[in-house]
């Protein structure tokens, strides 16, 4: 008798949850029961939570047209793993950005000469799909965007925000794409007086999209007018209900130089990195916004840091180390550093001679499909998949059938 024949299904599930994507794609061919288990949405979501959290960033060669992804792995050996973006959606690209990464899906924005494309890419399975923007929604020039899993509705959404500012007032309109229905819709925009969008990439945390906006205020020091003060606040979009709002009060730093502030995710909370490059101090503060969103807590104070004016916190690696980028004006490229707040030590990740966009995304490998649920390949291949139902359903059916037979007697 084979070793495993005595194992109940939930124990098999526990073992399969610990396997990488490649093994699971192979083991779909073991038997129908395993295929049903491995392709169930429940299993796929649980599997993501078991995988190590890496960080990825988009890169490009200096003279263009060779867009790729660099990955810093969670065990932080300091090695960058590079791979190319899929070629077909990148044809004729003049620019591209990573919009967001969630449960193994990366959403990419591609600017082409006459239009703009969005595609979803699962790096682990290699599958990708273009999201066709409906012409009926008109001409959108995206200024900021976000992509992520929305736990409340168990779905993935892409938010695209167009900025039609006038006379210094922020005037945003927005479109939302929903993966489960493979559909787009326009949502109510937002107008904020005397403000503008920050230069950095936004972040989606637990189904809420956040971006920094700034308001310029007069800055008079000892009677003379200086460069205006930039007062930050946070624009917020609830992706479950498609509603914009603002977080204005209680921001940890009210006199920031926008260049050196960034939003990121830390342990499923919104975090903000503030790099102070004042005359005598060079230090990085990391704050988090508590779940109820009414109070900020200082997580770390990172110092001493090297005295580099362009230091930028990009994000966390595996909720542990902070990824810092500093742009070397002598070498003309970015140097990536990992700073560990618990030991206050930083290490240089192998320097990347490609151009790095000022963004990093959390990445876990997963089996999440880039297709909307109705169009998934496995169901097409095996129409009899319906027969493999959870045991509870089977029991119910058995009972119903029995009741039917009894009625005939």
């Amino acid at each position: 008798m084979a070793a495993g024949s005595c194992l109940p299904e939930d124990m098999i599930r526990e073992t399969l949850l610990r396997l990488p994507v490649q093994s699971l794609l192979r083991f779909q061919a073991v038997c129908k029961r395993w295929l049903a288990l491995i392709t169930s949405s429940n299993f796929i979501l649980a599997h993501c939570k078991h995988r190590p959290k890496h960080s990825i960033m988009l890169t490009n060669t200096w003279f263009g047209e060779n867009y790729g992804i660099s990955m810093i792995e969670a065990d932080a050996t300091g090695k960058l793993d590079h791979r190319n973006l899929p070629s077909s959606p990148m044809n004729n690209a003049v620019n591209c950005r990573g919009i967001g990464s969630s449960n193994g899906l990366l959403c990419v924005y591609v600017k082409k000469t006459h239009n703009v494309d969005y595609f979803l890419w699962n790096l682990a399975t290699g599958k990708h799909r273009l999201l066709l923007f409906p012409p009926a929604l008109g001409n959108y020039t995206p200024r900021t965007f976000g992509f992520g899993f929305v736990p409340e509705i168990n779905d993935y959404k892409l938010l695209i925000v167009d900025d039609a500012s006038f006379e210094g007032h922020l005037n945003l309109r927005a479109v939302v794409y929903t993966l489960s229905t493979d559909s787009w819709k326009e949502v109510e925009g937002v107008t904020v007086s005397r403000s503008y969008l920050g230069p950095r990439i936004s972040v989606v945390v637990q189904g809420i999209w956040y971006d920094l906006i700034f308001r310029e205020e007069e800055n008079i020091v000892q009677g003379t007018s200086r460069e205006p003060r930039k007062v930050p606040s946070i624009l917020r979009f609830d992706m479950a209900n498609d509603v914009f709002s603002k977080i204005e009060d209680g921001l940890p730093y009210d006199n920031a130089c926008g260049r050196n502030m960034n939003l990121m995710e830390y342990k499923e909370l919104l975090a903000m990195g503030v790099y102070r490059d004042e005359v005598t101090t060079f230090e990085l503060e990391i704050w988090t916004l508590m779940k109820n969103e009414n109070c900020w807590t200082k997580l770390f104070l990172c110092r001493p840091l090297p005295k580099i004016m362009t230091m930028m916190p990009l994000g966390f690696l595996n909720d542990k180390e902070i990824i810092l980028s500093d742009y070397s004006t002598e070498l003309f490229y970015d140097i990536l550093q990992l700073y560990d707040p618990s030991t206050q030590k930083s290490s240089v990740v192998s320097t990347c001679e490609e151009f790095i966009y000022f963004e990093t995304h959390n990445y876990v490998e997963s089996l999440v499909s880039v297709d909307a649920p109705g169009r998934q390949a496995v169901c097409r291949c095996f129409p009899d998949m319906e027969r493999i139902k959870p045991s509870i359903l089977r029991e119910q059916e058995k009972r119903k059938r029995k009741a039917g037979i009894d009625a005939f007697k």
Partner: protein, 184 residues
């Protein structure tokens, strides 16, 4: 806790008939008798037995019980290995050292056969020993990770219920995932 020098083998298998052993337990309040599905009686230190959530709640429900605790779903062979694991774990309770614990856990699984591991899983599950379940599931995952579909089928005793066309389709769809597997 009695010193281990005084009592080097903590698990003494008593193969005498399973009834009427209450007098022996009375001698030492720190020992508990556990009876496996194949009627073997294990005399186990209380601290080890309390690692089994199922046994622990048995005593919480009936604190004064001095009877042998029956474990109807637990055969003796995997149970003796489970006890071996829990005895190691207890050492780390008093003196937590994550790296040492990991080392000890990996040594524990290294010397076990596939069959040993798989037989222990339902026992650890029934006795609700979470740490051991984690270790076992991970060990099985490590052993099958780079293996072929055929190896996994025979490992778990699974019959292939796909038609050859269905299986060919699955292999074709993710052909790259079938490359670079270890030899069976």
């Amino acid at each position: 806790m009695s010193s281990s020098a005084e009592n080097p083998t903590l698990t003494t298998e008593i193969t005498k008939p399973s009834t009427e052993i209450a007098t022996e337990t009375a001698q030492s309040a720190k020992k508990i008798n556990l009876k496996t599905s194949d009627d073997q009686i294990f005399e186990v230190e209380e601290s080890v037995a309390m690692e089994f959530a199922t046994v622990k709640s048995f005593f919480e429900d009936a604190p004064s019980s001095t009877d042998t605790v029956p474990l109807p779903n637990v055969p003796a062979k995997p149970f003796s290995q489970v006890i071996e694991f829990c005895k190691e774990q207890i050492k780390f309770k008093a003196n937590p050292d994550e790296t040492e614990k990991k080392k000890s856990n990996s040594e524990f699984v290294k010397e076990k056969t596939n069959e040993d591991l798989v037989e222990m899983i339902p026992v650890a599950n029934y006795l609700e020993i979470k740490d051991l379940l984690d270790v076992l599931n991970q060990a099985v995952a490590d052993r099958i990770q780079n293996r072929s579909v055929e190896y996994v089928r025979s490992f778990f005793g699974i019959d292939n219920d796909f038609t050859s066309e269905e299986e060919a389709l699955l292999r074709e769809e993710h052909a790259w995932a079938f490359e670079d597997v270890d030899e069976d």
